[in-house]
Subunit: 262 residues, 2 copies
């Protein structure tokens, strides 16, 4: 089985152009099939502010109204996505920038309205990702670069969580590829002591997760992150890496950040 | 040889959402391989105005400064392109939205500075279009939808004339496809009397072009349009149609607008 990396970067990489360029150069050099998924960053918030669009919040949760959807479509699928693609081309990485609407590659459903109407937000399900079509692009030596905009198949674009898009793609591609899912964030990985990079846990097995939680080594925002990672592994993903974008070169020796395994 | 339509729409279709939706439905139903190229429309100008970006003009020509490039990348490659793709998906047309940077499909060079510095504007040349890669997408039953943003291969996006992008794609694809280039504009086609749709010239041969010019039947803005069309034909395109977006269904019977032939 061929190998595949599905790598997700967020605002902390995108908002700093020096970091982003350094990351894209290392990403370009990474051998084998790969897919990049990027989040948004601050640019959409800044543009919304400049355009006088008030952030809509309900119970502390951000709502994607039609105006905000227009902004994120412009910023994520246009400005950020196409500049990433152009940068990758500079490094001879044949990137192709996509949303979930393109090639019907990631189809979502608008989040049902319960207590909160989140607006134009997409949720993914088991058959969201058109893995065969996406595989055909990989076979063409193309490197898909996804912004986290999806569609519902009925003409509506939807704002979607980038971590979720990356995970859904990795799970779906696992049918045909030995797939590693890689989350880049601001820390070196899972740290036993959050203030000490030397306390990095190089590897966590799913069986260790409960113990790490009860010992308080994994806490707060890291709990749902790891939970979702182990869910992806349970659904076919070979391993999940969590680490710092700037360390990406270490993926080649499997020493990047924290590696999660079944 | 397989047939291919390369169809270009401009602001007059894009700015009217009822027209656009009607056009996209007919486009979806068109059989065989097809590529859509879209221009900009008024949205970029409106957004620039809202953001307080002054249009830069030199000798009456519009300049694409770095701020304007950001706006057109957001509006053309993001907002317009992805909404067109989502609409086409609704009609079961498996569209994939692209710029020239994606897949390195259309590489341009920044227009050299002579009397005027046009800024981030791309000019195309004979080897601009990666026709084999684009053909591979068509073979995957995908329908490429291009905004007129290209790149220079060195990480720089460039604003490019949509008519020129459509023509360059049609010429390049003619090596492997029997290619028809279709320009949609606001009139039914070339009219002997501009005020009378019934005076439509159904067909113009390249040999008739000089006579039509000297008789004044083809005048003003139509002269460069037809000149470029006949250049495309000289360079391998089978025929060029010029007509109204709303009449597109007539392409199937080759009775759309004015047909230009060698």
């Amino acid at each position: 089985m061929k190998t595949l990396y599905v790598i997700k970067i967020g605002g902390n990489v995108i908002d700093n152009s020096a970091n982003l360029h350094a990351f894209l150069e290392v990403f370009s050099a990474l051998e084998g099939s790969k897919i990049l998924v990027h989040g948004g960053g601050k640019m959409a918030t800044q543009l919304s502010k400049t355009l006088g669009i008030e952030p809509k919040m309900v119970d502390g949760r951000r709502i994607t109204d039609i105006e905000t959807l227009r902004v994120v479509t412009m910023v994520y699928a246009g400005l950020i996505n196409k500049n990433i693609v152009a940068q990758l081309q500079l490094h001879h990485c044949n990137a192709i920038g996509l949303t979930g609407a393109d090639g019907n590659l990631v189809r979502a459903q608008k989040r049902p309205v319960k207590e909160i109407d989140y607006g134009y937000v997409g949720d993914l399900h088991e058959t969201s990702v058109a893995s065969k079509k996406l595989g055909a692009l990989l076979e063409e030596q193309l490197v898909p670069v996804f912004s986290a905009i999806t569609h519902d198949g009925n003409g509506q674009l939807l704002n979607t969580n980038a971590d979720t898009v990356a995970s859904a793609i990795a799970v779906a591609m696992s049918a045909d590829y030995e797939t590693s899912l890689v989350y880049c964030f601001e820390k070196k990985g899972v740290l036993a002591d959050v203030n000490d990079d030397a306390s990095l846990l190089a590897e966590i097995r799913s069986g260790d997760f409960e113990a790490l939680k009860s010992e308080g080594i994994v806490a707060d925002g890291m709990i749902p992150k790891l939970h979702n990672a182990f869910e992806a592994i349970k659904n076919g993903v070979k391993d999940v890496y969590i680490g710092k974008a700037g360390d990406l070169a270490e993926l080649a020796t499997q020493s990047f950040g924290t590696r999660l395994l079944s």
